[in-house]
């Protein structure tokens, strides 16, 4: 038996994949932007708060880290609207989920980054008379960002791959585009080969770009 590869049908529907890739990137960028906000806010709150707040933040982090992403996606898209009276599109629901998801991981990243800022730098900030807020903004955060940049780009890369989970609620990102072509052309090997290559190439390009940014940051600091 022989199976001959035929990519013609894939190229005919390539707009589905291209559009899907762009949407995947968009989902990842928006989610990490919101995730960074959540992560920063909670990490700063965590290191300066009392036990009660710490427990609540830790519970959020543990919950997200121990539940599979796909389940979170189902919970937010199907579960939440049946309990509370809200309506949102699949795409919005997914962005919300992925933001909460990345936020939880980034709380950990930022928290350990904040704690890794050498005490001497904070002492120096105190000694020149900076207020706690000024020490946070001008001393602690810049150093923390420098420390956490590699972890931040890794999080972004895995988030880009995680956008494929959005296909289970029919968000037309890259993996969903692949499934659509598969259902309509049955060229299963071809379409998944192409999509794999697309994830791979985009991932590499992102990694390369992010490493460049990291290097620039190191050189400039």
């Amino acid at each position: 038996m022989g199976y001959t590869l035929n990519f013609n049908l894939i190229w005919r529907h390539f707009d589905k994949l291209w559009g899907g890739l762009l949407l995947s990137l968009e989902l990842a960028v928006i989610s990490i932007a919101i995730g960074i906000l959540i992560g920063l806010l909670l990490a700063v709150w965590y290191v300066s708060a009392g036990r009660a707040v710490r427990t609540v933040i830790a519970a959020y982090v543990e919950f997200i880290r121990n539940v599979p992403l796909i389940l979170l996606v189902y919970l937010v898209f199907y579960g939440l609207p049946t309990v509370v009276d809200i309506a949102y599109s699949a795409q919005t629901s997914f962005i919300a989920t992925l933001s909460l998801y990345s936020g939880a991981y980034l709380v950990e990243v930022f928290r350990s980054g904040l704690e890794a800022v050498p005490r001497g730098q904070l002492d120096a900030g105190k000694a020149i008379g900076l207020t706690p807020w000024q020490r946070l903004v001008h001393v602690r955060l810049p150093t923390m960002l420098r420390i956490t940049l590699p972890a931040l780009s890794n999080t972004f890369l895995s988030l880009f791959k995680d956008t494929s989970v959005a296909s289970v609620i029919s968000v037309p990102e890259l993996t969903y585009g692949a499934q659509w072509i598969n259902f309509n052309t049955f060229r299963i090997v071809e379409v998944y080969l192409v999509v794999t290559a697309m994830y791979l190439l985009t991932g590499y390009a992102l990694l390369y770009a992010l490493r460049l940014v990291e290097r620039r940051f190191r050189a400039a600091h």
Binding site: P118, G120, A124, G129, L130, P132, Q134, R146, H221
Partner: protein, 264 residues
């Protein structure tokens, strides 16, 4: 009846300060007065509380009892002996009255030499960016680093970093400069350039309290030497007296003997 102010009021008045870390008493009723323009050197074996005392003066460390006043104002606590900690905002204001130079430099790694000096000038002293830059350049010139204004700390040698550290502290025009073993982390050949800067500040009349192991420098540059042992002031006086051979203090004698043995 009028109460006349003392003839030479202390700029820094440390009185009966005690502090414990857990069950270890690191400061035992320490008292020390420093007048304007004085250079006071604190010496003593490690663990004698020198650094802790210095860190109490700008309230990087709190203390359990006693009082520390600068220009008559209690540093870390609200007035009237309540032992109630000042608000963080007030503490920041009080700390701006003193400058501190650290053993490990503690420059802000993301800011240039000038940027390190400008941060406090802008955010604490409210200077404009141009004013702050001018002041930073003036002080970098004073410490011999005018050409390094735009270098990052990582691009500077230890001695250069420490000189930036000194410039950062004095640019704020503090009432007192606190120097915490500022040459201990330096290679021997870089010690001289840093001490030279301190000497020129002393000649300007800057009031300083320094903890150091540089005995020769302490002898030459200070107006008074304080010997600390076991968390208390064990002896204090002019350098010639404290470092001389006549002194009747067994602990100081053995400290100096051990010190000389290890340095020659």
């Amino acid at each position: 009846m009028s109460i006349s102010p003392p003839a030479n009021p202390a700029l820094l008045d440390i009185s009966d300060v005690s502090k414990s870390f857990g069950s270890v008493e690191v400061l035992r009723a320490v008292s020390l007065q420093v007048t304007r323009g004085e250079v006071v050197t604190v010496i003593g074996p490690s663990g004698s509380g020198k650094t802790t005392l210095l860190r109490c003066v700008n309230f990087l460390e709190s203390y359990d009892s006693g009082s520390i006043r600068i220009d008559g104002k209690e540093v870390g606590f609200r007035e009237m002996g309540t032992h109630q900690r000042r608000s963080e905002r007030d503490l920041a204001k009080m700390r701006a009255e003193t400058g501190m130079v650290f053993q490990s430099f503690n420059l802000f790694p993301h800011l240039t030499a000038a940027g390190n000096i400008m941060l406090g000038l802008r955010k604490v002293r409210g200077k404009s960016s141009t004013e702050a830059r001018a002041i930073a350049e003036h002080w970098l010139g004073r410490v011999g680093l005018a050409h390094k204004a735009d270098s990052l700390p990582a691009e500077l040698s230890g001695g250069q970093q420490q000189r930036v550290g000194i410039a950062r502290a004095v640019a704020m025009e503090p009432k007192i400069l606190l120097l915490d073993e500022i040459t201990s982390a330096l290679d021997p050949e870089l010690v001289g350039e840093v001490l030279e800067v301190v000497r020129s500040l002393a000649e300007d009349g800057m009031t300083m309290v320094m903890v150091t192991h540089e005995m020769a420098f302490a002898r030459d540059a200070s107006s008074r030497i304080v010997f600390m042992a076991d968390g208390g002031v064990s002896a204090a006086g002019p350098p010639a007296e404290i470092l001389g051979t006549e002194i009747d203090n067994e602990r100081l004698r053995s400290f100096l003997a051990r010190f000389r043995a290890s340095h020659f």
